[in-house]
């Protein structure tokens, strides 16, 4: 059971070394947030900066998001999923492998604030965390201990690749993830009737504000102009029309197919708590069952949509 302070110490140590030796111009990690249950991405450029870097059970943002097109040498504090996204950025030519250094943190999962609030609905003014297994939340006249496994994010519960195997170094002992993600939820959903599925997905996105936080929090969404911002032709209306919203989510799912590493950044960013990853998961399952492809697992694999097999099976094409 590693202490968070231990990992924090190692991250700082590594970051300082990288910056002093010139191996990195910037180390992108996390610093403590300004409100309870939050961290913020932090860009350390000097060895002194590094003392602000922390490790936490709330280090949810996928920092690979800051890689695309970034000049210079970058070191990234990366969980299992983030490291895969970073590798994806390399395979998609968003950054050179030689300019990237991954400080891998074997991760035991990150906390979903909504689940914490569900367990402790009183206003929380302080959180203490010493290990990666539990937290204590405090407020006016209360102090509640919460086990992390009870409040893990959905994607963290089913995470298979918790240890960033491709990282340049690991700052903690390797951890094992789930044996395999069986996609039971998606398969159950697909067992329902067409009408039920349509009703489910319409209900799923009914609160969507189209703030596009899911898109912007996603390390895959680096297009200079997103299809939702195209104006001639304008593919998407700007109103709250349900079908426009559905189109956004479907096309987002499609664009992430074969690239998504289930980091959960989209769901965490969503201010109205939509399970936006449902769309991605359908695509993940499809990609895996068709092409046995998992993104971000090696430096030289080609994303499935940039290639083909002459014998790809598609029985539905007549």
């Amino acid at each position: 059971m590693p202490q968070l302070s231990e990992i924090t110490g190692k991250i700082r140590e590594s970051a300082k070394k990288l910056l002093t030796s010139g191996q990195a111009d910037v180390v992108i990690g996390y610093r403590q947030g300004t409100v309870p249950m939050a961290t913020a991405p932090f860009f350390a450029r000097t060895p002194e900066d590094c003392d602000q870097l922390v490790w936490s059970n709330f280090a949810r943002v996928n920092l690979a998001n800051y890689l695309s097109g970034r000049p210079g040498k970058v070191a990234l504090v990366a969980k299992g999923c983030d490291a895969r996204s970073a590798v994806g950025q390399v395979t998609e030519n968003q950054i050179l492998k030689d300019n990237l250094y991954l400080i891998g943190v074997p991760c035991t999962g990150m906390i979903d604030n909504n689940l914490v609030v569900a367990k402790e609905p009183r206003p929380i003014s302080e959180v203490t965390e010493t290990t990666d297994e539990a937290i204590t939340v405090k407020g006016n006249g209360f102090s509640t201990d919460i086990k992390k496994e009870d409040v893990l994010r959905r994607n963290c519960k089913t995470c298979v690749n918790r240890t960033p195997k491709l990282a340049n170094e690991l700052v903690g002992p390797e951890v094992n993830g789930a044996a395999a993600d069986d996609y039971a939820d998606i398969k159950a959903l697909l067992g329902k009737s067409l009408e039920e599925r349509m009703a489910y997905f319409k209900d799923l996105i009914k609160d969507c504000l189209r703030c596009y936080a899911c898109r912007n929090a996603c390390p895959l969404c680096y297009c200079p102009i997103c299809f939702v911002d195209e104006t001639r032709p304008q593919w998407l209306g700007k109103s709250t029309d349900a079908m426009d919203t559905m189109t956004f989510h479907l096309l987002r799912g499609l664009h992430c197919a074969g690239r998504c590493t289930s980091c959960g950044a989209c769901e965490t960013a969503c201010p109205v708590n939509i399970k936006v990853r449902e769309f991605n998961r359908i695509m993940e399952l499809t990609v895996q069952s068709n092409w046995q492809y998992e993104p971000g697992m090696s430096w030289d694999q080609k994303p499935p949509l940039t290639m083909f097999q002459t014998d790809d099976t598609a029985d539905f094409i007549k």
Binding site: G33, T34, V35, P36, A38, T39, A40, P41, F42, F43, V61, N65, N114, V117, A118, P121, P123, I124, S125, E126, N140, L209, C211, Y212, A213, R215, N216, A217, I225, D229, T231, G237, K238, S239, T240, D241, A265, T268, A269, P271, V272, N273
Partner: protein, 346 residues
């Protein structure tokens, strides 16, 4: 005397009288489902912290039809826009927080500015009575007092209500408010002292007030040119969460949509965080990267609006953007950085 009380036992009747001939809205639901909803008088609850989203959509819906036309070129008024102004029913909102009411009053000065009046906003604004409920226990992310407001703030409200040991106390702030309280049979009382001490207690519970005062005196261009913006914006994902949740953010886009029968011109919430927001037809963009866009948002809140609205800041300290931001960009820290800007020597 403009203060009144209603005892706990008479509250049910009070809410009934509010709903008489008007739509009664109040916060319903908990957590991320807490929102202003049409409420039966017996369902009004005083037990909430604040609505998940700001109440601006009441007067400024995310999508609003402005006008429409029929696609009939041969008829005299076919293919000509007709106003689709709909101000809705008379409404009373009970339980809006003072920070949010203040947000509406700031937006109100934009929608009813020195040259133009927005009839869509005004119609709804004029038909709504706002009864605020003072905050006696502000949340950790609340900082209304630091921004020049108060948990007992009065701006934008017709009536300020606050909890008493037995029932509610009220301060009428407009004629509309006084009328409403009188009609509901509220008893006059002298509560000024009580309000003062409750307010002081609530402000105190927000902790130490950071000093943002220097921003007011600093030159616009000094604030604008300060080198901190690059670092301040570095985290930003350029999503629109802060703007969509902000009670004073009022920017919108105007869009036309068509069908065979005709078309509608509508306005939709827009966000200054978007690249598309300012891009010219030529492709030139005055705010091309997130640094300019983030700067715009904070400068707008903390400098531009105060310049235009007699020093009133465009942030009400409701704390929504602080907790909603996926990367924890905290307007309080940004404001402090701005306050530390070094002025150019004269």
């Amino acid at each position: 005397m403009s203060e009144y009380i209603i005892k706990q036992s008479a509250l049910a009747d009070f809410f009934k009288s509010l709903a008489n001939g008007r739509r009664l809205l109040s916060p319903q639901g908990v957590g991320d489902k807490c929102k202003l909803e049409e409420t039966a008088p017996e369902k009004v609850s005083l037990d909430f912290t604040n609505t998940h989203m700001s109440p601006k959509s009441l007067l400024f819906p995310q999508t609003e039809r402005l006008m429409a036309f029929h696609n009939e070129h041969d008829k005299p008024n076919g293919y000509v826009f007709q106003s689709a102004l709909d101000s809705g029913e008379p409404t009373v909102v009970f339980g809006i927080r003072p920070c949010d009411a203040r947000g509406l009053s700031i937006a109100n000065k934009v929608f009813q500015n020195d040259r133009f009046t927005d009839p869509y906003w005004k119609g709804k604004f004029d038909r709504t009575v706002f009864i605020g409920l003072a905050c006696d226990a502000p949340l950790p992310q609340c900082f209304c007092a630091a921004m020049g407001g108060s948990p007992f703030g009065e701006s934008g409200l017709d009536v300020l209500a606050f909890r008493q040991t037995d029932g509610l106390g009220f301060k009428a702030l407009t004629d509309k408010g006084t009328e409403l309280l009188k009609a509901a049979g509220a008893t006059e009382a002298d509560l000024a002292g009580e309000i003062k001490s409750l307010e002081a207690k609530a402000i105190e519970s927000q902790g130490v007030k950071p000093n943002y005062q220097p921003i007011d005196n600093l030159d616009l261009m000094d604030l604008f040119k300060d080198p901190h913006w690059e670092a301040t914006a570095e985290n930003c994902l350029n999503c629109g969460v802060c703007t969509f949740f902000c009670p004073t953010c009022h920017c919108f886009d105007i869009q036309d949509e068509n069908s065979e029968r005709g078309g509608v011109r509508m306005r939709n919430w827009d966000t200054c965080m978007s690249w598309l927001f300012t891009v010219h037809g030529t492709g030139h963009n005055p705010r091309p990267t997130k640094t300019e866009r983030v700067r715009q948002r904070f400068m707008h809140k903390l400098k531009y609006i105060p310049l235009k609205q007699d020093g009133v800041r465009g942030c009400t300290g409701c704390g929504r953007c602080v907790v909603m931001c996926p990367v924890n960009i905290d307007i309080r820290s940004v404001a402090l950085k701005m306050a530390q800007t070094a002025p150019t020597p004269a």
